[in-house]
Symmetry: C2
Subunit: 475 residues, 2 copies
């Protein structure tokens, strides 16, 4: 029977890879096709880091904005492709539960043909009428798993829908901040319904356990409702942290692509795949736990098509960009990461894959929270004479106060900022401070390099280092 079928992870992987490929093909086909329609509706912008672009304030009287209008918010195309694919193929992972037992058993009698047979049934091309839902009552439908699937799609679609509204109508900051919180409600209820664990295990360092009076020596703290607060913040963080590490062609999509790949690799570590011949391969960190391997299979099923969508968008968003992805993409991809992190029960591992985003966020706080002046755009500046990107600067206007000045001096001491005007506090500018001016695509590549290194560190901390901070045996 289906749940016990050892070839299931392999079938799901193959199905997911196919969806990923279709997602890539559709996205990369549709972006140039639908782009002009976005431009028609005012979803368009000029590339600020290309020759000839002038900011509005630099224009002479009578002078018009130059540079080609490129489609904005193509992220909505990628997100639509993703959600429609995953909705249309929603029955497939559950097909073995929806088909009558007799059919399922005859299918498993044909090793190696399962996939083809399942797929052909799904599109109704069998010659014998398959009486769908002639259910043997012993075949219990996995309602919780299906609810998880639906909640994920619903959260993603809410985020995408509201993100698109933001791109279209330019929603004010105070109205858009709660968007990820609203979108995560279905996730949180599903988490709660799955007997969600609201305990955290505190690390052994810093005397944290004693400080918080964690029960006995096990270091378990029961967070209760606070854990739900933590998870809502997670969706807000995933969404916005990608959005503020932006401004250069391909950099948002590039980050998301690498995060999605890192999560996929992490998922693969937990799975064991069986060939119809009986051979097995895989790292199998789940160590026989169906629950663990199911969760990571679920995560993989959502991440691989996201990789496809990102690749499709990147094709047109890479330097020199032919289209921009808009806030829609950040809402959509951020929510996708939060979803698998929450419902896959690996939110802390997820955060490890956000190292560059966390660094960028912390480095940005003085400007984000108004301790130092913050201009509307903090992206690097094009040096017209060389065609390279250099840092962008915020002039000190004397209003930055003692806290701001002190902070600048500390940063300057470590050569993390130049003072007079100071460079804007973003990871992209920091790269330019440390490594000098470079071409735009090179900067994106270097940031993606950082992201990949971050993931390597994440894997090291998660699997080699966890033993230092926690009592052994945590998976």
């Amino acid at each position: 029977m289906a749940t016990a079928d050892p070839t299931e992870p392999l079938l799901t992987l193959l199905l997911s890879l196919s969806l990923s490929f279709i997602a890539y093909a559709l996205t990369s086909h549709l972006v140039p096709l639908l782009g002009p329609h976005l431009v028609d509706k005012g979803l368009a912008g000029r590339d600020m880091l290309k020759e000839g672009f002038k900011r509005k304030e630099d224009l002479k009287e009578g002078e018009e904005l130059q540079g080609e209008l490129l489609p904005e918010a193509t992220g909505v195309i990628g997100a639509s492709v993703y959600i429609l694919l995953l909705s249309l193929f929603a029955p497939l992972p559950y097909l073995s539960h929806l088909l009558p037992t007799s059919l399922t058993s005859s299918l498993s009698a044909l090793p190696g043909l399962n996939m083809t047979a399942l797929l052909s049934n799904a599109v109704g091309s069998t010659t014998e009428p398959t009486h769908l839902v002639d259910l043997d009552t012993s075949l219990v439908f996995p309602h919780h798993s299906f609810a998880t699937y639906l909640a994920s799609l619903l959260s993603l679609l809410i985020a995408t829908f509201l993100g698109f509204m933001d791109d279209l109508f330019d929603i004010r900051w105070r109205f858009k901040l709660p968007i990820p919180l609203i979108a995560s409600v279905p996730l949180l209820v599903t988490y709660a319904a799955g007997h969600g664990i609201t305990d955290i295990v505190l690390p052994k360092v810093f005397g944290l356990r004693e400080l918080l009076g964690a029960a006995g020596t096990s270091g378990v703290v029961h967070l209760g409702p606070l854990y739900y607060l933590y998870m809502s913040m997670l969706s807000t963080f995933c969404t916005n942290s990608i959005n503020i590490l932006a401004g250069v062609n391909g950099v948002e999509v590039g980050q998301a692509l690498l995060i999605a790949l890192s999560i996929s690799i992490n998922d693969l570590l937990y799975l064991t795949f069986s060939l119809p011949s009986g051979q097995t391969f895989g790292v199998g960190l789940a160590r026989g736990s169906t629950e663990l391997s199911d969760r990571h299979l679920f995560s993989l099923y959502f991440m691989l098509p996201l990789v496809g969508v990102c690749a499709g968008l990147l094709r047109w968003n890479w330097y020199p960009a032919r289209s921009f992805i808009g806030d829609t993409f950040c809402y959509f991809s951020g929510m996708a990461f939060a979803t698998v992190g929450i419902l896959g029960h690996f939110s802390k591992t997820l955060l490890l894959f956000f190292l560059p985003q966390i660094v960028n966020f912390i480095y940005s706080t003085p400007q984000l929270f108004g301790i130092l002046p913050c201009p509307r755009h903090r992206l690097p500046r094009l040096q017209e004479e060389t065609g390279l990107l250099g840092c962008s600067w915020s002039a000190l206007d004397g209003r930055e106060g003692r806290l701001g000045r002190g902070l600048l001096e500390v940063l300057a001491f470590f050569r993390l900022v130049d003072i007079i005007a100071h460079t804007n506090l973003t990871l992209l500018n920091l790269l330019l401070v440390l490594r000098g001016p470079m071409r735009e695509d090179r900067l994106t590549m270097e940031l993606m390099g950082l992201q990949a290194m971050g993931s390597a560190v994440a894997f090291a901390v998660r699997y080699a280092g966890a033993g230092w901070f926690y009592d052994g045996g945590r998976r």
Copy 2:
């Protein structure tokens, strides 16, 4: 415990009524506030049935279009309000399952206070920390019910999202026809997962049972996959049948409002409400079946907020309209009806509430299927001298063929059409043919009167007449 709590239907009804009121207040507040932003994005149109409007083809050279540009697609505002409310309040119907048993029992010890207590817990205003999800394992979470809830919201949001894309980008006919089909996939999987019944009972008349060889004398036919086809067609029908009975201020929203009310009344017939004092009231057609009463409670929970949204939209779409609702509304409301019909297992009763739409569709087929000429707009025509609406006409161009002519003669014989040019075949025109010219709001009222009469007939057929066609005892 919660499922056995007899006050539950009453609490759900009160909650749903509150949501309905909030939905009305928000929608009617937001439409005039956000309307100008829709106009900015080109989501705007002129009222074709008001003095001064001229069709493009009637304009003299150099003459410009007259009449105020009104916001189009305000349906997206109503739909967003509805979906966000039902997502945000998703935990509420399941709260008794998510809270620890101790808390639930202490709540039920306070009769009459349940609602307040439940609500205050939901927003976290209790002073004692409530350890959410400290689940007693005997309290089984109703995963299937929750999956049903999620699938409904997902289907609604897909329909709304794609409907809005249609309003924004004017999607071509062949791409928009499958929209309701795609949106209904989550519904169908959920239906299948709930051990969906794919049998239908044939009526005793017309020798249908003998013709189709229905099993024995019970008249049960096993439709299997065909039943899923029928349900997908249902969503297409609900969506498009409202869309083609349109063209006059308030007429689409008015229809939807009355259909939603009719379904709500039908749902109420199945429920029995218990007061904390122990008194019960209600028709109780469910006759003790928890399954039946749950389904109708579910349907009621989705219909009442829809009534609120429709009322809010109608306030600004009523004659003389200050805004138009767009295709988004028809996709959204049509999908909402299909959802409760499918997952509430009363799709045939649902169709009875669509009598005017069915008549309009059948009456329209000669024009829709090209047997008779069909102009782009078939809405009635304003008679400038009286300010009343009269029929609109399609001139016979000699290309209508023998079939078309024959059909016209038959229709004319029954005085259902006037020949030379013939009146456009819509229910609105038919009303004008039969009852003479009238003012626009009067026409909407008369159509709504027809809709109400249709519902009365539907109730009669369903509850008094079903015995004539079926063997007794069907619920």
